[in-house]
């Protein structure tokens, strides 16, 4: 997981490019996940990092389960609700 890179594009525009562990995640999603896991809405950095890994794993598994390197955000909108992006019909996510 550590070395995997994510490219989020909206049409031709790059929205995010970087390591999977650095994907943009909504603050409220981190808080909600932390509440779910630890019953703590103000997690320390170690717990935040654990939560981020959970989101990264959710994203990575989408590619694995669908046997593809590229997905359309809209096809997995509910699962990827944690991503802090302004998605459109043209938003795609690639893994490498």
């Amino acid at each position: 997981m550590m070395k995997r890179k994510i490219l989020i594009k909206d049409g031709e525009k790059t929205v995010f490019k970087g390591k999977i562990l650095n994907i943009p995640v909504k603050d409220e999603a981190i808080r909600a996940k932390s509440l779910d896991l630890f019953d703590d809405d103000d997690p320390c950095i170690i717990h935040q990092s654990f939560v981020m890994k959970q989101f990264a794993e959710t994203l990575e598994s989408l590619f694995q389960e669908n046997n593809t390197d590229k997905i359309r955000f809209k096809d997995f909108e509910d699962t990827l609700d944690f991503l802090d992006i302004e998605a459109t019909e043209d938003t795609t996510i690639e893994i490498s």
């Binding site: 997981m1 550590m2 070395k3 320390c44 950095i45 170690i46 990092s49 890994k53």
Partner: protein, 380 residues
């Protein structure tokens, strides 16, 4: 589930749980109350404390019951500082946070604290300790007896002999010891020693502080005259009864348990080797001056956080030695102090064993680590 985090906490036995529940039913009164029910509770409390004290070969009244080992440690270090603010407190670079952060507090108050470094196996540099004693007015030396991250056991006899001419008291953080070793405080020669019940299958929320008669430190918690006016707060009778039982059970099972742990530790290390996993055991080799139950293993060029995260996903539970400081996750200060090589330190995990795991559990753990490393998911 494969639980390899016994250095973090150990489960109470069914008998301990039942004894505690029974105590809560049978002794509802305050042990300090001077009526029949209170006196009965006090008597039972003193009996349990006597039982604990006898395991450690000390007198009941030399033990102070606290809410945790952290509290016991705070009591010794702050209590010493408040009594002797102009003197130096000496500790080591490989202490548990309970000592490390208490010493940081002392520094914030303007006190002087010196940390003695260790060699690459984690053993205290005695020469440096001697020089420190020669050049500073020292009020206390606090040393972790068996390290919680590496299992390294310090040469307390040598430390004790070094301190004697200076008349400096020795505090030992003995939290990891009672489950695995005989703890005879007279033989060891500690002036203060701290313990935690849940590290030897006792309940959480109980610590013990041994204080040798003749040493005076300030109390930290004031109120009633509990614990001979050394630690106020209503006695936690049920938890102390549970602690006594857990300690006695741990002594009775020790020989058989340590034999299994030693065999399992060897088996696990052999498996890692057989699977050709690039790793190093941080600290001395098995059966050296160490607890065989704590294996701190560095995996070359791996990210320990990711490894432990993915092991957790497969229901294999263990710990990493990192801690959070402000907004960064730092690698273990213990491993840094020991000078663990850069390519292994960030990939270091603590496997803390008991007698409960089977060889199949350990083989599965080793194979899972191999699979995760080979997948490239955990590469730094």
């Amino acid at each position: 589930m494969i639980y390899l985090d016994y250095a973090a906490s150990t489960p109470p036995s069914q008998k301990t749980i039942e004894l505690m529940a029974k105590a809560m039913r049978d002794y509802p009164a305050n042990p300090s109350s001077l009526h029949g029910a209170g006196i009965a509770a006090k008597k039972r409390y003193n009996q349990a404390k006597t039982g604990i004290a006898s395991v450690f070969n000390v007198k009941k009244d030399d033990l102070i019951t606290t809410g945790s080992a952290t509290e016991a440690i705070n009591h010794v270090i702050k209590g010493t500082y408040f009594k002797h603010p102009d003197k130096t407190i000496v500790t080591t670079t490989i202490e548990h946070a309970a000592v490390k952060e208490t010493c940081a507090f002392i520094r914030k108050q303007g006190g002087n604290v010196i940390e003695i470094p260790t060699d690459s196996d984690g053993f205290l540099l005695l020469e440096t300790l001697k020089k420190t004693l020669d050049t500073n007015p020292v009020s206390l030396v606090s040393v972790i007896y068996a390290n919680n991250e590496t299992g390294v056991i310090q040469d307390v006899g040598a430390i004790r002999r070094l301190l004697e001419p200076y008349g400096v008291p020795l505090h030992l953080d003995m939290v990891q010891a009672p489950l695995h070793q005989k703890v005879d405080l007279q033989e060891i020669g500690a002036d203060y020693a701290s313990f935690s019940a849940h590290k030897f299958n006792g309940p959480k929320g109980v610590g013990l502080l041994y204080k040798k008669p003749g040493f005076e430190i300030e109390s930290l918690i004031h109120g009633g005259n509990h614990e001979k006016e050394r630690r106020a707060g209503t006695e936690n009778l049920a938890a102390v009864i549970g602690t006594e039982n857990a300690l006695i059970e741990s002594v009775n099972a020790r020989q058989a348990r340590e034999k299994i742990i030693g065999e399992n530790a060897r088996f696990f290390l052999d498996k890692l080797k057989a699977l050709d996993i690039d790793h190093r055991l941080n600290g001395p080799t098995l059966d050296d001056a160490r607890l065989n139950s704590i294996l701190n293993i560095g995996f070359k060029d791996q990210d320990a956080q990711m490894l432990s995260f993915l092991l957790n996903e497969e229901a294999i539970y263990l710990s990493i030695g990192s801690a959070c400081h402000s907004d960064i996750i730092e690698v273990s200060h213990v491993l840094r102090a020991m000078g663990v090589p850069k390519d292994y330190i960030k990939g270091s995990l603590r496997f803390s064993l008991s007698h409960n795991e089977t060889k199949a559990d350990l083989e599965k753990t080793a194979k899972t680590i191999k699979r995760l490393i080979d997948s490239g998911k955990t590469k730094k």
